[in-house]
Structures are given as structure tokens and as C-alpha cells.
């Protein structure tokens, strides 16, 4: 099981990033990552190494996330408001080339974006995050979500439009400034 331990070490931060965007909550994200790795450990004998480990893990994670959503009936969004200010988390800025204004606006839009993500169905949210945050191709997203490329294409397009509508309604000025900055 040294191989599995190594994969955990290499992928847990990336997995946490997706889990955080899926749940919008630091502690739920940690629970989701733990649950996903425990499931991955149990079924590791079924893992086909032709598929990247993260893709396989994301498939497990999206299923675990949908289970969590169904179990709880709703998603909590409270801790996103405290993220970064409660001393329990730090922020990594993935785009050092971006202008300071753009970075500041991105930071300011983080909360509205996360709220917009959480307002979507789990299927739309997962498709948009896998494509736009993880940068996966539609075929990989379809493989992870066990659906067709056509369905993925539709979920991503409709999901992005829902996000935009939400941002224009709840953060029109910040979002407008961000768009002007590009």
C-alpha cells in the first residue's frame, strides 16, 4: 500500500481544492476529502492505472458529494464568509501573472461565486468546476461523471450562464469591474 500512500500525499491538496469548491465549507471539504480517500482505499484493487489517479478520485468524490448533499438535504454556506479570516486557512493565489486589480476583484468575487456555485444543482456545479477550475477536457469530465460528452457540454454551458446571472444580480459592480479589467 506504499503506492496508495504516495498517491494520497501527492493528490490530497488538489483534491481539497475541488472539495472546497463543491462544498463551499472548509470543514465539509475536509470531511469530503477524507471520505473520498477512504472509499478509494477500499476499492483501490479496482483502480485501473490507465486513468489518472485524480480522475478516479474525482469520480469517487463527486459521488460522495452527491451522497452528502442527499443525506443532509441542503448545503451549508456559512464558513465561506469566514474563510481566510478565522486563522484556520490561508489562500494560495494561482495566477501570479495577473494584475493586482484583477486579483483583488477575483478575491472580492470569491464569495459571490461560491454562493452562485452552491445555488446550482450538484451535477451542474461539478461539471463547471471540473472544466473551469480543474481544467479537464469534456471527455474526462464525462468519464468522471459517468455521462455523455453531450450532457457535459450542456451542463457546463447552462451552468456558466446560471453563474453569470447570479453574479450580475448579486455582485453587479464587482463583476462588471472584473469584466472591464480583462
Amino acid at each position: 500500500m506504499a503506492l496508495f500512500d504516495d498517491l494520497v500525499r501527492r493528490s490530497h491538496k488538489q483534491a481539497y481544492s475541488l472539495a472546497y469548491r463543491l462544498t463551499g465549507n472548509l470543514s465539509e471539504a475536509e470531511d469530503l476529502v477524507q471520505e473520498s480517500f477512504v472509499r478509494a482505499y477500499r476499492f483501490f484493487h479496482r483502480y485501473d492505472d490507465n486513468l489518472p489517479f485524480t480522475s478516479w478520485l474525482y469520480r469517487i468524490m463527486t459521488n460522495a458529494h452527491i451522497d452528502m448533499v442527499r443525506r443532509r438535504g441542503r448545503l451549508k454556506t456559512t464558513s465561506i464568509e469566514n474563510a481566510g479570516t478565522d486563522g484556520t486557512s490561508t489562500w494560495e493565489l494561482p495566477d501570479p501573472e495577473a494584475s493586482p486589480d484583477k486579483l483583488m476583484l477575483q478575491g472580492a468575487l470569491d464569495e459571490p461565486v461560491q454562493k452562485a456555485l452552491l445555488a446550482m444543482t450538484a451535477e451542474f456545479r461539478t461539471a463547471v468546476l471540473l472544466a473551469d477550475v480543474e481544467g479537464l477536457a469534456y471527455e474526462e469530465v464525462a468519464e468522471i461523471m459517468k455521462t455523455s460528452v453531450g450532457t457535459v457540454r450542456s451542463r457546463i454551458h447552462r451552468g456558466r450562464k446560471q453563474l453569470r446571472t447570479h453574479l450580475l444580480k448579486h455582485a453587479p459592480q464587482t463583476y462588471g469591474s472584473y469584466c472591464d479589467e480583462l
Partner: protein
Amino acid sequence: MNCKTVQTHLSAYLDRELAGDQMLELRAHLNSCTDCREEEASLRSLKSLLGGLPIPDPSPDFEERLTLSLASARSVQTSTRNYRTSVFLFAGVAAGAMAMTLSFLSNSSGQAAAAVARDKSITFEAQRYHEVYNRGADAYGGPIITANYDGR
């Protein structure tokens, strides 16, 4: 391509997920249509926003807690596996013992049956000879020829 079709395919266009000829057709439409170009720019901004979202770090002790929860899952799985192995082993030994007992019993009763059969056969033969000599027939049912040694 009309505006409606173009706008349906804009996300796939931005993600470079359209076939080559569709990409070219859509690009040609964008060059000549202001509304669709604005829609494309708007979706491009959103995609850029999502791709540049800050990524939070997990809490400092998260890796340690993750390792512990995996160790716990591992120990549960190992004890479950050991339990299953013990159950299978016990079942195997029990089945073997039962098979040996049955085989022994079956052999014993076979030998006893053979002995009884042998006894019955001897008794039958003895009775048969007894009856034959009483009836004046040989062991195979033929008449007993009493020899007259002087030839008469």
C-alpha cells in the same frame, strides 16, 4: 450558423471542444455579429474568473488527520479480512471433519453390511444343503444318484 446555434455552442467553442469545421464556422459568425461577440466575451470573462479563483489551503493538521483516518480504515479492513479468513478456515476445517466422520461411518456400516451378507450367505448355503439332502437332490437341484457299487 444562426445566432441561436452559435450561442448554444459558445462554451464548447471557448473550451476548444468543437470539431475543426464548426470552430471555423462559428468564428466566421462572430466576426460578423456584434451580439454574439459580446456574449462570447462575457462567457470568456466568467471562465477566466472561475479558472483564477483563489485556492484555500487545508488546515495545517489536515494531512495528519487524513493519514489517521486512512490508518483506521486500513485496520478495520484488515480485521474484517482476518475475521472472514477465520470464518472460512473454521468452515473448511468443520466441513473436512464432517466429511471424514461420514466417510468413517459409511465405511464401518459397509463392512458390517458385508459381514452380515457373508453370514447370511453361509446360513443360506448351509440351509440349502440341508434342504437338498432332505429332499434327495444335489446342491444344484439335480437328483442324488445313489451309486450302486456292484453295478446294479
